[in-house]
């Protein structure tokens, strides 16, 4: 078994466990469990058939994108592999580092409401980011102490940038 981190081109990261057994893959994520079986080529050139939890899906590739059932698409930016660390539970591995707050979007920091050393409660607003005419407030996902703030008001941030760390 190994741990995979699937980075999509849109900046989403899905951590999964991955187990290959014969022609079947067993994959577990934070919210789902999948048994994926490759059934072989489809009826058309370039088409592949997969059985995911008993349901058959058609897949083809176009311009680096995985097109599923000719209806929805996914692009892998990269996939990284990590070894299973001893003593760590699967949940911990999948959820990633707790307390690291990443920017959910590209935008500009309007206001930072906390400073380093502050004690924050879960759900407390930490900062606000403005993008596309609207302001989004980022709240603390956990309670703890603000250990480090990486950004200043007025600064532009990209999606996935580390904003601050709560310990």
């Amino acid at each position: 078994m190994k741990i995979l981190r699937v980075f999509s081109d849109l900046g989403d990261v899905t951590t999964t466990t991955y187990d290959q057994k014969g022609n079947k893959d067993k994959i577990k994520t934070e919210i789902g469990e999948y048994e994926i079986e490759y059934l072989g080529p489809g009826w058309r050139e370039g088409e592949l058939l997969f059985k995911v939890n008993g349901e058959i899906h058609r897949v083809y590739f176009d311009n680096g994108f995985i097109i599923i059932d000719d209806e929805t698409l996914f692009k892998i930016d990269r996939i990284s592999e990590s070894v299973v660390e001893e003593g760590k539970s699967l949940e911990e591995l999948i959820k990633g580092k707790e307390g690291e707050i990443l920017s959910p979007m590209q935008g500009r920091i309007v206001q930072v409401r906390v400073k380093e050393g502050d004690i924050v409660n879960k759900g407390q607003p930490l900062l606000s980011i403005e993008a596309m005419k609207s302001e989004t407030i980022i709240s603390a996902p956990v309670s703890g102490t603000v250990q480090k703030i990486m950004i200043k008001p007025g600064q532009g941030v990209k999606k996935g940038d580390l904003l601050l760390i709560i310990k």
Binding site: L4, T14, Q20, I31, Y34, L48, N63, M132, K133
Partner: protein, 512 residues
Amino acid sequence: MPPFNKVLVANRGEIAVRVMKAIKEMGMKAVAVYSEADKYALHVKYADEAYYIGPAPALQSYLNIQAIIDAAEKARADAVHPGYGFLSENADFAEAVIKAGMTWIGPSVEAMRSIKSKLDGKRIAKMAGVPVSPGSDGPLESLDEALKLAEKIGYPIMVKAAFGGGGTGITRVDNPEQLQEVWERNKRLAYQAFGKADLYIEKAAVNPRHIEFQLIGDRHGNYVVAWERECTIQRRNQKLIEEAPSPALKMEDRERMFEPIIKFGQIIKYHTLGTFETVFSDVTRDFYFLELNKRLQVEHPVTELIFRIDLVKLQINLAADGYLPFTQEELNKRYRGHAIEYRINAEDPINDFTGSSGYVTYYKEPSGPGVRVDSGITAGSYVPPYYDSLVSKLIVYGENREYAIQAGIRALNDYKIGGIKTVIELYKWISRDEDFLKGKFTTAYVSEKREQFVKYLKAKEDMKAALAASIYERGYMKKATISTQQQQNTTRRTSGWKTYGIAAQSSYRVMW
């Protein structure tokens, strides 16, 4: 003869492209303006001419009256179409256009000034005999004043920017603490977006529908109401899905509104397209006036489809003193079928609809029977973070609502956009939702359904990531790429066309 020679479109994105299509069809030249962020945008490429008007932030470009007038003069345009948003309802801009000797495709400056803010609109609505919801009669000076009035009319209330539009600066407030919290923030946002920070409050209707009527008038005193658009499916007061006609209205409901709306138009001498926004209660079957939008609406295509008219061409003709080509009775007879518009926003519905900017790396547009796409993007387009997140509109038509939804689901499946997040997957879910199919919804629909659709969307994304991991780990993608490459190598680059006979035998030496 086209009414003008050259029309400048003071806007960007899909609406600029949509308006330019009408301009081109009418045999006129279309002029675009663009900011630093839009250098390579579709509307710039589509125009006959394009002029740079300033840096990316809207205040310095698309809201910069002087820069746009300069561009119009440089281009020798003889008319200006403002689209929606930005300067479309700005009387100072209209005045500047007219002063520069060009025609303003929109309401007269006087009509705009008479309903400068949403509050003026409410006053005239009262005169015209339209019910309005209780609230402040003028802009509120201070937070204290707002708190006092809110206490009187009772929570929940809506805090609105008097000069706002497009749902910005509108916040629902349920208690005094919340009012204190949003007051300064909304003031700042209103100032940034519209240049004026005036706020007012009014009582919030509980779970209403949002229904708007299309008023059309000419300069010769003729008016019609091109029925209504149902715009109830919204989030954060911004519309997502609109349809015409409303599944909730009967003919007698809508006809009841025609007279007061036309009266409103007559009072302010309104002679172009205008949209009369109301809230409607399923229970009491009463309409309450919200505001008159003095511009072409984002969702105008649904009206175009059910009446088979082109509102932009009509708007341009009306600006050139044209007559309304139909009476109310004739228009009523033109009505056929049902149309739905899906606003394709670059937003992440899983993450509270946060905007998503970036390059469009994959783009396949739907087409076919009953499908219209008004798009501002194409493959390779950049979606900048500075402006509205609306990148395209999918409009579908069917002989009835059921058929329109069928066309909608098919077209949403065909619409594939990569590189940015969009609301397409959410719309697929909504289009299959029981309550939506029955037409049973209020403005709270999206927030009420949030938990359900977020769960569904997350599960779908998760499955896709898992499948991608499996494909990657087993190297299927690499294999597929190699096999297509080999295939390309075996086929000759040059055309397969062969010449036989005399042409093949002859050499250029002989020819010369």
